[in-house]
Symmetry: C2
Amino acid sequence: MSTEHPAEGPWADDAPGAPAAQVDGAVDRPGRRAPSAAGRGPERLAARGIPEATVARLPVYLRALTALVERGVPSVSSEELAVAAGVGSAKLRKDLSHLGSYGVRGVGYEVSPLVAHISRELGLTQEWRVVIVGIGNLGRALASHGGFAERGMCVTALFDNDPAVVGREVAGLTVLPMTELAAVVRRDGVSIGVLATPGPGAQPACDHLVAAGVTGVLTFAPAVLQVPEGVDVRKVDLASELQILAFHEQRKSAGEAVRAASLAVAAPAAPADAAAVPAGAVAAAPGRRAARPVGVTR
Amino acid sequence: MSTEHPAEGPWADDAPGAPAAQVDGAVDRPGRRAPSAAGRGPERLAARGIPEATVARLPVYLRALTALVERGVPSVSSEELAVAAGVGSAKLRKDLSHLGSYGVRGVGYEVSPLVAHISRELGLTQEWRVVIVGIGNLGRALASHGGFAERGMCVTALFDNDPAVVGREVAGLTVLPMTELAAVVRRDGVSIGVLATPGPGAQPACDHLVAAGVTGVLTFAPAVLQVPEGVDVRKVDLASELQILAFHEQRKSAGEAVRAASLAVAAPAAPADAAAVPAGAVAAAPGRRAARPVGVTR
DNA sequence: TCTTGTGAAGGCGTTCACAGCC
DNA sequence: GGCTGTGAACGCCTTCACAAGA
């Protein structure tokens, strides 16, 4: 039971005032880029307006570039970098073009300057301090996760409302009670919080974060969060990811079934005992054991 | 054939050599829905062709509906369900329309039938068995994660290539060596695998999964995976998520800075000691906490 | 000659608004 | 009267293809 925090218990302490605002849905397009404030103030080059889709890929480019730096590669063509990042070269060029021109026609992009530029664009010239709320299995794993630090994110403090967890040491940090949240956020200048609480505790915990001053939230809780305008929420729902994969697996199986059926018609009498045959006949057999689409070929 | 993975050392061996197959990019649109096979075979109702964006939201709708079932609600309007799921009602209706008509004009949707239908569509009429490869912090957390089971996903086995980890018990399962992977996948009819290895070990581990027959992969490794056609890959990159939030935070700060500057001009000398102000005044306090914004300024 | 940067075209997804049906 | 289902408009993103430029 260690897992579940006392469902409601303390997590409920929340509601510091206003019953928050509208649903955000920031995940899909957190960028309600200033609707018309596009050409506001004394903007400089590249009009401040990088498409959200591009922003979401910058971290990927940055990682690929970092790898190149380590290998000592001085420059890359859009084609090479695109492959390294797993995207098409046209898309990559278009993305980079939104950051301004950092490439040289006929040559490619110089790695170092590009790394610096993307880092700056992402705001990684500074280390971002992050707090994690909800120190259950996932929270602990995130706290211990190496890989944040090397990418500019520093986990500063851990919080939980379960007295049994508070005080314990995780990844070198002592788990603090939620009552300390605001103080820590203020002291360390934290603006990003990670929610790893069970679903029911997410909203209260989120309200707590927001009240403390956090304006960027990454949540793993399977719950819809209501946050005031100005707060970005990105959601990662592990079970949903698997269900989406299941949908596609099911499809493949169905396709197999159809194909199998066709074959059966073409060459009947073949007892579907699927011996060595691609056990994938899956769908053929009423749901039996899921999907084993063979297809993987090559 | 790709089949053979050199007996990698622990997860390290990486193998920067062979430029395997093509990049997938499945994450963005795993649905290369049969390009033109749209109206192929003897399709039934709703032409088999649910938009990927819709598929990605079905799990969310399902969760919201499940909650309604538990509350004993018999039916909902698109507006109510939309709010519960955190989307717009028009979008919800359009999404559901892709599944066929399960609503009653003038009334709304009956919860139970809708739950059943979405479940069927997602392939959740069966339990999907999943294996996790890479039992480090994250792998353990995922293995122990309650919440998969209740949403149709059953973690069947855990694998790792580190002798120090193999044999240990996690979440009631004994961690197995990679050599057992193929056998388990076949025996249990596993078609979905979760990759929680460090970045460098991801590709070999992925190849291993694919060779064993897995055709759906959810990876947490910050690496581009090459998989053969027919294999879906969904990627969750934790650090990237935080970096994307950082980008937006930086923006807000920049905006603040600009505004602050304006104010400074308008009413200088005002020490921004943001006293008792509603802790939530977040956006109000110029720079202060929020991640040392100012400096970064473009 | 080779690769970037980009206008233009094409797709996909969202949103609107209302016809259709309860 | 009320709400769903959907055609049509709209906008974002991707892809194409080529002019610009080292």
